[in-house]
């Protein structure tokens, strides 16, 4: 056992030694230790280097407030975690940690040269320099700054751990399992309510764990809670309080286990919805601000008490205390009783509580009232302090190996503030406490300010006989922000605490100001000549402590990042060797290559098959909405540009949907199944958006309409048969429908059966050929597909994918919303003004179509383009100009929206939008690419079967 371990003390198990490695050095601690307590037990006080000046640093605290002792924890490949506080690392076998931000070693860090140059690096120095020469910022200064900055190692391998999440619904959530939280849970436990008590530490108990006199009560209370069915979660940090009683919390499941034995998810996100929330988040002790208050061994008094009672470790052998608050005395008494030498208790206050004086006297402790520490000594550990009576230059030196600070307590009001709870200044505490009320949320215990103020004094910084601008008195230890930095900020006109924070970076380190915000505020208030409440506090933001990205991302990764929607025919396409593409959330077959075919060859073959025989296409991804009700036709009439009321049951119509701005949003064919029922189709990507838009109008604009909307996209598989022989393929399998052109002409609809299952049959075409779209219940989709495929073999049937579909429809000039239109085209721009009901009084977007700009002749209009070189396929997105080789900026008059090689025509074709395009048909325009300018001739956006005769086959 080391010289610093105190036999018989603490909640650790010294009989179970734990081996760990610290910066490559093998050490031993005890079960129940944190890394911090184990390092102290091993006599290690130097645990880190600061961010800016690389000053040697030791432990300040014993909990999440720790700003100095940041470690890289290595649990194997991909399992390196940077910036973990040693005070929160539970010791376990094979724990491997390394210190950060030092080179070549923690003891000898060349970065400490910045400390010598620190007079040149006050707050905001980077705003004032590095500006000459101009180019040097990016080539020289910034790279150098970036190399110096950053704390932990950058990640380089993928984390193999899993993260999980769950939803919790409780009547009462209590955050913090110290005395106040446990008492709140006990009070509620008999009520029969669902009560949840969460705490960030491995053990419930909070500061009771550092108070052996309360351990029996604690054990009894926890048993009672368990018996009452209260859900108690340790290692669970409430990271944020959100709207309406919602708390996010992260539970750490495996980091406390040796890597070899850790199984299951590493962390679990709890999304907790609570009817009531009690915040019992306690308070954090404040350090004191004086010269060289950052030397290893200078520590919060409460931390020393925690190390003593909870971990059985002495923070030193000869300990001095600097107190401005009574709570420091109890620490001194406890240490003395444990046999630890007390060098002196220095108290800034002139008048001390007689009982404390008497107790100190009984224990033989030297008490120095009305004096302050004005400096510390030592290199990598404190070896002594200099103190002076207030207002005096009669300094005195005292040797010590630790200096404890008791500067009062700061209630942990982070979660309260997340919820926009108000704060009020408590003069006795020298801190902000929750004020007023918040829906569902109350505070209790130290968090609510229920702290014995103990006659504390709350100075901005300790007095010093020296010029305060001449020494470093740290406020934010991690970011190396000193009191003089804050005073400099005020001097330079930064008067808001938010400005001071941002200018000095006070409170912006990984501890987010848990020990520095209040002191920074006090220093700023002093410099401004204001009171602390006049200056106010910066805003607390989630998370309370740093939170693993993976825990928040959860299982939403790889294939689960977003579901891949597949049609029921997808497996067939996969087996056929289809090449797929992502379209919205869907995976769609793009083409079906045979043997060594590339995409162009496969598409050419598929196109020829449709034009000359029959092709088969999986159109199941088309959005489908069943619009039902007495006012269904009226509703569609208002949503779509087309007239719907006169459409007879059994007929289809191409529908065009605009936004309020008059621009095309979606399109699709709808069939009237009955007077009060429509089967509406949408684009693949637009399905959810169109349904949402319909619901929006139905619920907010026209609640009087009697209409119901149901998404049926996934209820139907859609098999498109396209080509002159399409009818031959389905005819043998269809029952109850007369397929003759007379009975079922183009744009007709019928219901019947196919292959024995119910069918909704659309006679529609997106290819310009005779076409049928067979809708069957999705569960039968694959069987029907396979039956038709088998039937089609006699007719040379060919499966085709989205690419062929694109080429075929482009030959016919059918637009794809989102490709040929882009949210800036009106129906007239797109050449489909015929789809707008001229006699209709209103529809969504109608008013916008009358705006002056919508009627200008130079609007961009859909046209066709034919390149001079029939083999050159224009690049989609290429820009179009009417004057070649104009100087930059080149006036552009349009762009290529769709462009393919047309196997049917044996040449390239393109669709484009061109300013005043329809009046330019026959003109020569130019498409300037980086390497060459291409000549094109404007044409009608229709390249094949101009009369549309093939549709009527």
């Amino acid at each position: 056992m080391s010289a610093f371990r105190l036999p018989g003390r603490g909640r650790i198990d010294v009989a179970r030694p734990v081996a760990f490695r610290f910066d490559g050095k093998a050490m031993t601690g005890a079960a129940g230790d944190t890394l911090a307590s184990a390092l102290l037990a091993n006599g290690v006080h130097l645990v880190g280097r600061s961010f800016k000046y690389h000053r040697p640093r030791g432990l300040l605290g014993a909990g999440v407030e720790e700003p100095n002792a940041l470690m890289g924890v290595d649990r194997g490949p991909g399992r390196h975690t940077a910036n973990v506080r040693a005070t929160t690392i539970e010791l376990h076998d094979d724990l491997t940690v390394e210190t950060q931000n030092r080179w070549p070693s923690l003891g000898f860090d060349l970065g400490a040269a910045t400390n010598l140059l620190s007079p040149l690096f006050p707050a905001g120095f980077y705003n004032k320099t590095f500006m000459w020469p101009r180019s040097a910022w990016e080539t020289l200064y910034e790279p150098a700054i970036r190399r110096m900055a950053g704390l932990g190692k950058a990640p380089h391998a993928i984390d193999p751990d899993r993260y999980t999440a769950r939803h919790d619904f409780v009547d009462l959530l209590i955050v913090g399992a110290g005395r106040a939280g446990i008492e709140a849970a006990l009070a509620a436990s008999a009520s029969g309510e669902r009560v949840m008590l969460i705490d960030e530490q491995p053990e419930l108990g909070g500061k009771l764990l550092a108070n052996p006199a309360r351990w029996d009560w604690l054990a009894g209370a926890l048993t009672r809670l368990d018996d009452a069915g209260v859900v108690c979660l340790s290692r669970t940090t409430a990271i944020g309080l959100y709207h309406d009683g919602f708390v996010g919390a992260v539970e750490r499941l495996t980091d406390h286990l040796p890597p070899a034995t850790a199984t299951g998810p590493r962390e679990r996100l709890h999304r907790i919805r609570a009817a009531r929330i009690v915040l019992a988040t306690g308070a954090i002790e404040r350090p004191l601000v004086f010269a060289d208050n950052d030397r290893p061994g200078v520590m919060l008094a409460s931390a020393a008490r925690t190390y003593l009672h909870r971990y059985g470790v002495a923070v030193g052998k000869r300990v001095a205390l600097m107190v401005t608050h009574d709570s420091g005395y109890q620490v001194a008494f406890d240490l003395a009783e444990a046999g630890i030498g007390i060098a002196a208790i220095v108290d800034s206050r002139p008048d001390l509580d007689p009982s404390l004086k008497a107790r100190a006297s009984d224990l033989g402790l030297e008490l120095i009232p009305h004096a302050v520490v004005i400096g510390t000594h030592g290199a990598k550990a404190v070896t002594g302090i200099t103190l002076a009576p207030l207002g005096s230059r009669q300094v005195r030196k005292i040797a010590c190996d630790a200096l404890l600070m008791a500067g009062g307590w700061t209630p942990t009001v982070h979660l309260w503030s997340h919820g926009k709870g108000k704060l009020g200044w408590d003069e006795a505490l020298g801190a902000f406490v929750p004020e007023g009320e918040m829906d569902r949320v109350t505070c209790t215990g130290a968090c609510a300010g229920a702290i014995d103020p103990g006659h504390g004094v709350h100075a901005e910084a300790l007095w010093s006989p020296r010029d305060p601008a001449s020494f470093k008195a740290f406020v934010d230890l991690q970011n190396d922000v000193t009191a003089r930095d804050i005073r400099l900020a005020v001097r330079e006109g930064f008067r808001s605490i938010e400005h001071i924070k941002r200018y000095t970076t006070n409170g912006m380190a990984t501890d987010q100001g848990k020990t520095s915000n209040l002191n920074g505020l006090q220093v700023a208030a002093g410099a401004l000549g204001n009171t602390a409440p006049q200056v106010g506090l910066t805003t607390f933001r989630p998370p309370y402590t740093p939170t693993t990205f993976g825990a928040l991302a959860g299982s939403a990764k790889d294939a689960l990042f977003q579901p891949t929607r597949k049609t029921v025919i997808d497996s067939w396409a996969h087996a056929q060797g289809a090449v797929f593409e992502n379209v919205a959330q869907w995976r769609r077959a793009r083409y079906f290559p045979r043997a060594s075919e590339d995409m162009d060859a496969a598409v050419a073959r598929e196109c020829r098959a449709v034009r000359t025989g029959v092709g088969m296409f999986d159109a199941s991804t088309l959005g489908k909405i069943e619009v039902v009700g007495p006012d269904a036709a009226e509703f569609l009439n208002r949503m779509y540009t087309n007239p719907w009321k006169a459409l007879a049951p059994g007929r289809c119509r191409y529908g065009l949907l605009l936004g309020e701005d008059g621009f095309i949003r979606d399109d699709g064919v709808a069939a009237r199944l009955a007077d009060d029922r429509f089967h509406v189709t949408t684009t693949t990507g637009g399905a959810a958006r169109v349904l949402g838009m319909m619901e929006d109008y139905l619920q907010t604009e026209w609640p009087d309409l009697d209409v119901w909307l149901t998404s049926t996209t996934e209820q139907y598989a859609v098999i498109a048969l396209q080509g002159p022989r399409a009818r031959d393929v389905i005819a043998p399998h269809v029952e109850g429908v007369d397929l003759s052109p007379e009975a079922l002409p183009h744009m007709a609809y019928a219901e019947g059966r196919i292959c024995g299952v119910p069918m909704r049959l659309f006679r529609v075409s997106f290819t310009g050929e005779l076409g049928f779209e067979v809708n069957v219940p999705a569960g039968h989709g694959l069987a029907v597909w396979e039956a038709l495929w088998a039937e089609g073999q006699r007719h040379g049937i060919t499966a085709y994918g989205t690419e062929t579909m694109h080429v075929l429809r482009a030959e016919k000039g059918y637009i794809i919303v989102g490709q040929d239109s882009d949210g800036t085209l009106t129906p007239d721009d797109a050449g489909i003004g015929w789809a707008v009901g001229k006699k209709k009084l209103d529809f969504v977007g109608r008013r916008s179509l009358a705006r002056p700009d919508m009627l200008l002749p130079d609007r961009k209009q859909l046209v066709g383009l034919l390149t001079d070189d029939p083999h050159y396929v224009l690049e989609e997105g290429a820009q179009i100009v009417d004057v070649p080789n104009a100087p930059v900026p080149v006036p552009m008059i349009g762009h290529v929206t769709s462009s393919y090689h047309s196997p049917t025509l044996g040449r390239s074709i393109a669709l484009a939008v061109v300013a005043g395009g329809r009046a330019r048909i026959g003109e020569t325009l130019f498409v300037p690419m980086a390497d060459k300018t291409h000549r094109v001739t404007v044409s009608e956006p229709l390249f094949y079967d101009r009369e549309g005769a093939r549709l009527d086959g």
Partner: protein
């Protein structure tokens, strides 16, 4: 104004930095000004600076209900780029990028404009078409933007995953090398210092409560918490609260305000060299000089003036980031915050005159205002000084919502601003 340089820093160090003057005085309102800018963000402070510097109008006040730079200037993810599709937008944002280049020297204040490059990822055929369209348009407009293959994109940004089996594989990327980042606070502070040195009053904690108009309808001044301030020219540059201010002048503005969240990680050593944006996977990221990963995504779904957002947006954002950059999965979120963005129907700003004489507006920047800061400021100053818009901002008038001449980058490209 004390000139900033390494030499003055050294000289002041000898005196323990006691010799630094205030970077700008905290002014009290005077009874009247030649022009009043409402909103002391980067845009508003910059407008005051350019009014004084370029147009000789120095009797100017910038007033804000809070502290300068405390709104979206201090809350954004500091991305700068100008690879916009339409001529109007490309000229507007490139005007800003040209001013960013050299702004530190112009202001004698290091705003840390860093041309790290902005990489925009294409994940599907539609993205590729859209980005190619941007690249061709940008080339012809003289705006740099180039196409990279997935492999080239990864070479430019090594943490990028280009796994072809990813849910949304990277098919390529558009790179604007002049794009990058700057230090947001320094921009506000630099303009404040520069404007104050030219005689501009910066009046903080002075909320505007009304806009007073005369019998002829023209503005006569602003009512504030600290009294009436007379002026004939008011420039409103108040982001999420612009529509509230315009309402005081009797104008209804086509703006909706949404919460927009951002977050940073703990700092680590530099490993992420540029800015990467993905619209399809829906997130963007860069690494600050301090070492923090700076991350953002889209707005929350509902209109709100609450400067905080919901956790599920953060969950989705980080899932997206981890999907694109799987190596960051074990890193930790340090801080998450929200701002209010004002969004127009076409997601382009409104920058110009209003139907009220003497009232000028600069608003509707949505999620993309930071990158435009120097450009918007310069053009607002021009518009106020000349009582007519500069040709660059003329298309961004309020009337376009009546006429229909919209500038809809988002509709055209499905690219988040």
């Amino acid at each position: 104004m004390t000139r900033f340089s390494a030499a003055t820093l050294l000289a002041k160090a000898i005196g323990h930095h006691k010799g630094w003057p205030a970077q700008w005085p905290d002014a009290a309102p005077k009874p009247s000004y030649d022009a009043v800018i409402v909103g002391a963000g980067g845009h508003g402070l910059g407008a005051a600076y350019y009014l004084a510097k370029k147009h000789g109008i120095t009797n100017v006040a910038v007033i804000d209900k809070g502290w300068l730079g405390g709104g979206n200037t201090g809350r954004n993810t500091t991305i700068i780029r100008s690879n916009y599709l339409y001529d109007e937008s490309a000229f507007l944002y490139d005007h800003a990028v040209k001013l960013w280049d050299g702004l530190s020297q112009e202001l004698n204040y290091n705003v840390m404009y860093s041309k790290r490059g902005v990489l925009m990822l294409a994940h599907n055929v539609h993205d590729v078409q859209s980005f190619k369209r941007h690249i061709h348009s940008n080339r012809l407009n003289g705006v740099d933007n180039e196409w990279l293959t997935a492999e080239e994109a990864q070479a430019y940004c090594p943490p990028l995953s280009i796994d072809p089996n990813a849910r949304h594989p990277v098919l390529g990327a558009a790179l604007q090398r002049r794009g990058g980042t700057a230090r947001h606070d320094s921009v506000a502070w630099g303009y404040a210092r520069g404007a104050a040195a030219l005689g501009v009053d910066i009046i903080q904690n002075c909320a505007v409560t009304g806009i007073r108009r005369g019998a002829d309808g023209a503005v006569e001044g602003v009512e504030t918490e600290r009294g009436f301030i007379a002026t004939r020219k008011i420039g409103v540059s108040a982001a999420g609260n612009s529509s509230v201010l315009m309402d005081m002048a009797g104008l209804r503005f086509p703006l909706e305000s949404f919460p927009l969240q951002a977050l940073v990680s703990e700092p680590v050593k530099p490993f992420f060299p540029c800015v990467v944006m993905s619209n399809t996977v829906h997130a963007y990221m860069s690494q600050s000089d301090k070492g923090e990963l700076v991350i953002g995504a889209g707005t929350d779904a509902y209109v709100s003036y609450s400067q905080r957002g919901a956790l599920h947006i953060v969950e989705h954002t980080l899932a997206a980031i981890c999907e694109i950059f799987p190596v960051v999965r074990r890193m930790r979120m340090l801080r998450n915050w929200g701002g209010i963005v004002d969004v127009t129907p076409d997601r382009s700003p409104i920058l110009g005159k209003t139907p009220v004489k003497g009232l000028y507006v600069n608003c509707g920047w949505g999620t993309g205002g930071f990158k435009a800061t120097p450009g918007a400021a310069d053009l607002l100053a021009w518009t106020i000084a000349k009582d007519e818009p500069h040709p660059i901002n003329a298309p961004f008038n309020l009337d376009r919502f009546r006429s229909g001449r919209l500038i809809d980058e988002a509709a055209a490209a499905a690219v988040a601003h």
